[in-house]
Amino acid sequence: MKTLDFEQLFESKLANGEMIEPKDWMPENYRKHNIRQISQHAHSEIVGMLPEGNWITRAPSLRRKLVLLAKVQDEGGHGLYLYTAAESMGISRDELLDALHTGKAKYSSIFNYPTLTWADVPAIGWLVDGAAIMNQVMLQRTSYGPYSRAMIRICKEESFHQRQGYEGMCALAFGTPDQKKMAQDALNRFWFPTLMMFGPPDKESPNSENALKWRIKRETNDELRQKFVNQTVPQIDYLGLDYPTNSGIKWNEAKQEYDFNEPDWVEFKNVISGNGPCNKERIEARVKAHNNGAWVRAAAAAYAEKQKQKSVAA
């Protein structure tokens, strides 16, 4: 087949709602876009373990500790599903990790904010995982098969993350005045960074056009952000918490949805390009963990080699 035929086949698969699989011919830019997006997503899962991991040893009860451990372990698992989905496009795990460790690859800006109090743990489950789910539900129908399958698996697990977060928020919001204050403070700090998770406004989003054309994404950043706000505001109301300062949240009767203020996109650009409150700390923690594991990988490789020699000799 000629390249033109391959391209027609690719386009007709997309048009018919079929999936693209690793061995299928695909345009180089489709491959690049997916590798970038899937690996960013994988990095976000792995780096996302750090802010919450910060509170495992200080969880307020054994129940909360077990839940948090399970959640952080899930995030690790999600990273692994996604890394292998990216690898199916012909890039190695080493290259992917190297891009993260050298700052070449990005991850979600949200994980560059610190977790200052215990209330941040439930707030992350509720808001950050809630925003992630919104994005991931859409991505279950993304056009690249391995990515779609990873997302389906992740969505099944992610619902527990959000529910445990909201449960934890309820415990604080309906607890002592001090606990309620902690909950309010966490909401105030995480509101705008959560809105940033959907990416820049559509008119300034450089990657959106191709992503929609290739059915990698099916809804725009702004559409998803609005959906998230509509869904989340009644949940703030239920908790009896105030809307975050300057959030501008207001019901719009004509539109039948909430108006809200955009986050500070200058701050977003700063955090994305490495100047957030915790960027340096996060990458250092990743590099340290990776380097500390080097001897384990070397030993495992040596052991496997030795076993292979033995079985050849026998």
Binding site: Y81, S92, R297
Partner: protein, 95 residues
């Protein structure tokens, strides 16, 4: 592909006894034992299965998408292999 994380493996999971093993995804591991353990930790944290197969990805042989048409062509025109091809009198039951 050479990787410091060990070779890539394919993971198949049997949900319940008697059911087929279904592809779940991939993992990296250095040997068979580690492959099974990593597959368990990655894909069955919620009792998703009762048994696991792992096989090194380099041992998988796959048909090629470009040849899909010609590869499956022999089955394309044999509708007589399906039960609905045959007329059975209305009076006949249980068939």
């Amino acid at each position: 592909m050479k990787d410091s994380q060990g070779p890539l493996w394919e993971v198949f999971i049997q949900k319940k006894s008697g059911q087929p093993f279904v592809h779940a995804g991939n993992i990296h591991a250095f040997d068979k034992e580690m492959a099974l353990q990593n597959a368990r930790d990655t894909y069955t944290r919620r009792m998703e299965g009762v048994a696991i197969w792992v096989v090194m990805s380099s041992n998988i042989v796959s048909s090629s998408p470009e040849e899909q048409g010609s590869f499956f062509d022999p089955a394309n025109d044999k509708i007589f292999r399906h039960p609905t091809f045959y007329q059975v009198p209305d009076a006949i039951k249980h068939m």
